[in-house]
């Protein structure tokens, strides 16, 4: 018994060390992104329609020239649980894009205005073209980017996340990344074509600060009327809006999922309660039942 209890103690002690040895910084020396509050977090979370519409505007005017949204169709923009554009708005929007179609009767490919059923056209015809236009780096597609990015939570926080349902690591990171462009710290050289970012793993990111398209160096918007719904145009607001839009793009059925979940949970808990009572009743027939 002494041997095994010593093993047990040693193992426990070691696991304690292991927990303490977690580095404060995420991989590559980047800082952990600050936690944001999102309308879509938690079991009853829903997207903020106005925020998604603003985020779509940011995506379209700032990101879309390099980052595709190839798994989304225009029609998705008017589907329930999304930005809530009307079908008419989506039809009009689609016609502003050109897509390749064909072949026609003459056997030739032709361009036509997009329809709501078309997918968003890709910004580059292929990866090589994307590389050539972007200093050798391929700008990733944005369809599922909000689920493809994260940061390490570390033990024991990821266990708490099971209960708290914190799963917005991806969007917290993207928002932080957009706001994380800074002058490099003293003594750090950033190679040509790279930019220093507080939250990017390794701190050196190929993408330049995209917010310069909306804001000047002092953080003032080039166009104070950028948002038409009266929302103040700040760097934080714009970053959060586009990130929320990306979350919807990655998980367009999230509202349906959570709302179905509430019903399923209620039903299962009720059923479990009834089964428990039935079980007790049946087992009480036994002498000495516990």
């Amino acid at each position: 018994m002494t041997t095994s209890s010593r093993f047990l103690l040693a193992a426990l002690a070691l696991s304690g060390f292991a927990a303490l040895a977690q580095p404060a910084l995420a991989a590559g020396g980047a800082e952990k992104p600050p936690r944001q509050s999102w309308s879509f977090s938690g079991p009853f979370g829903t997207f903020d329609r106005a925020q998604l519409q603003r985020g779509f505007k940011v995506y379209r005017e700032v990101c879309a020239s390099c980052h595709g949204l190839e798994k989304l169709s225009f029609r998705n923009l008017s589907q329930p649980g999304g930005p809530g554009f009307t079908d008419g708005q989506v039809r009009t929007l689609a016609t502003e894009y050109k897509v390749m179609d064909g072949p026609n009767e003459a056997g030739e490919m032709f361009e036509r205005p997009a329809r709501p059923s078309d997918r968003f056209p890709k910004p580059f015809p292929n990866a090589e073209a994307a590389k050539a236009a972007n200093n050798g780096a391929v700008p990733p597609d944005f369809s599922v980017i909000a689920k493809a990015r994260t940061y390490e939570r570390g033990f024991p926080f990821y266990l708490f996340d099971i209960v708290t349902q914190y799963q917005e690591q991806g969007v917290d990171y993207i928002t932080a990344l957009l706001l994380g462009y800074e002058e490099p710290p003293k003594g750090v050289t950033v190679e040509a074509g790279l930019h220093w970012n507080r939250y990017f793993p390794g701190n050196k990111i190929a993408m330049g600060n995209p917010l310069v398209a909306v804001f000047d160096d002092a953080g003032k918007p080039h166009d104070p009327g950028f948002y038409t719904d009266g929302t103040p145009v700040t760097r934080e607001q714009v970053s959060r809006d586009v990130t929320a839009f990306l979350m919807w793009a990655a998980e367009p059925k999230m509202e349906e999922r959570k709302q179905t979940g509430a019903k399923v949970m209620l039903w299962l808990i009720l059923l479990a309660g009834l089964l428990y009572l039935t079980k007790k009743r049946i087992w009480s027939r036994l002498e000495g039942a516990h």
């Binding site: 070691l14 696991s15 493809a148 367009p252 059925k253 979940g261 059923l271 049946i282």
Partner: protein, 435 residues
């Protein structure tokens, strides 16, 4: 409890006619209604039913997913997103299937540890246990193959790392790897055959599960006291309604746990990297298998030699099959074995810690004194691996010889009611041997 006779009485003319030709109703009656169950089973015994539910759930959701999935390197990732976006309740099918794999393993690990604690592998249940080990192996293969199908970064690189393990086999290793890949790297032929095998293996699991249940029903269930059934009337209850309602209740509780992840936290158990389409030219920063493989991955990386690591990893699973003969104790249930209890819980802890080492970079410092590294992750994993194997090869053989077990109850009924009362069960009786 070796034999119990059928208590099935055909009621209608059709039932009598069928029973004389194909006694299938009798079989169902005997195995799911009158089958005698030890009356002292605790809730750890409900995981067999839960596992059956998970297997069916995986097969049903899997079959629906196949209707919309395309096993081709250019379309696999896209088709999974198509399921998530355009297929009615596709998100539900896919999240049930991907989280279902984890739930399956949670349940199977509880099931295995339960068997180990209560000595369920001991005679006459050795074959039952070995069939369980076979199911576990098939499950691991199925889960690995399935994880490759979405063709994300972790899919691709996980497949690359695991198939490369076979190159450690002397002489024929490289040939085997090329044969597994169907080419000179993980590519479209690999994805195609993995898809084919991922569809095949669950049905093989189903087949072995039938053997597993058959063996179980032949030898009867073990129970927390580890004492065999002596008197059917006193020690057992009929499967229906007693075990049926208890299993159902436990199953629904497990479904609540399952639903928590499916509806509210569907990507918690996966990797963000797998939402990046597979890129053979870009290795992810950390290639980490799914959580349920981590202890074995920890053992693999603990051995500095590649072949040694592969052998140790497979040995760590294969050794389970020898458990019935490695444990020398005459007493079945760990409840009456004070020293075994310590060894067992140490083993559980070591398994969890091995999983932790498997999830971490190998050069990570575990223990440093005064800035000097005393222990890195590899060394830590080596200690844990040694304890893991010591449990099977030293502890279990030795403990049976030197340990003094506590007094066993005279019967199952005694363990429930105390030695004084062991009265009759009011109401229905389990099928007793025919008088």
């Amino acid at each position: 409890m070796a034999e119990h006779h059928s208590s099935y009485v055909p009621k209608t003319g059709f039932e009598r006619w069928l029973d004389a030709r194909l006694p299938i109703v009798r079989l169902m009656h005997d195995s799911a209604v009158s089958y005698p169950v030890p009356r002292n089973l605790n809730y750890f015994w409900t995981f067999g039913g839960i596992l059956m539910f998970m297997l069916v759930s995986q097969i049903v959701t899997g079959i629906v997913l196949v209707m919309h999935y395309t096993p081709h390197v250019d379309h696999a990732f896209q088709s999974v997103e198509h399921i998530m976006r355009d297929v009615n309740y596709g998100w539900l099918m896919r999240y049930m299937h991907s989280n279902g794999a984890s739930m399956f393993f949670i349940a199977v690990y509880i099931h295995i540890f339960r068997g180990m604690y209560y000595g369920s592998y001991k005679a006459p249940r050795e074959v039952l246990w070995i069939l369980g080990v076979v199911i576990f192996l098939l499950m691991m293969a199925t889960a690995f193959l399935g994880y490759v199908l979405p063709w994300g970064q972790m899919s691709f690189w996980g497949a690359t790392v695991i198939t490369n393990l076979f190159s450690a086999i002397p002489v024929v290793g490289e040939t085997i790897v090329v044969w597994l890949w169907g080419g000179y790297s993980v590519d479209n032929p690999t994805l195609n055959r993995f898809f084919s095998l991922h569809y095949l293996l669950p049905f093989m699991i189903f087949g072995v599960v039938i053997l597993h249940v058959w063996a179980l029903h032949h030898v009867g269930q073990n129970n927390p006291s580890g004492v065999e059934v002596k008197n059917y009337k006193k020690d057992t209850v009929p499967f229906t309604p007693y075990a049926t309602v208890k299993d159902l209740f436990a199953m629904v509780c497990f479904m609540i746990f399952f639903a928590w992840f499916v509806f509210y936290h569907p990507n918690f158990l996966g990797h963000a990297d797998n939402y990046i389409p597979a890129d053979p030219l870009k290795t992810p920063a950390h290639i980490v298998p799914e959580w349920y493989f981590l202890p074995f991955y920890g053992i693999l990386r603990a051995i500095p030699d590649k072949l040694g690591g592969v052998v140790a990893m497979f040995a760590s699973i294969a050794i389970l099959a020898f458990l019935p003969w490695l444990d020398t104790s005459k007493v079945r249930s760990g409840k009456y074995r004070p020293w075994f209890k310590f060894a067992f819980w140490t083993f559980v802890l070591v398994s969890v810690l091995l999983g932790y080492t498997g999830s971490q970079p190998t050069d990570k410092v575990v223990l440093a004194i005064g800035g000097r590294t005393v222990m890195d992750m590899v060394f830590f994993a080596q200690i844990l691996t040694a304890i893991y194997f010591a449990y099977f090869l030293i502890m279990l053989p030795l403990l049976g010889l030197i340990e003094k077990p506590k007094a066993l109850p005279a019967s199952i009924a005694d363990s429930v009611l105390g030695p004084a009362g062991s009265g009759h069960i009011a109401g229905a009786h389990a099928a007793p041997p025919k008088h």
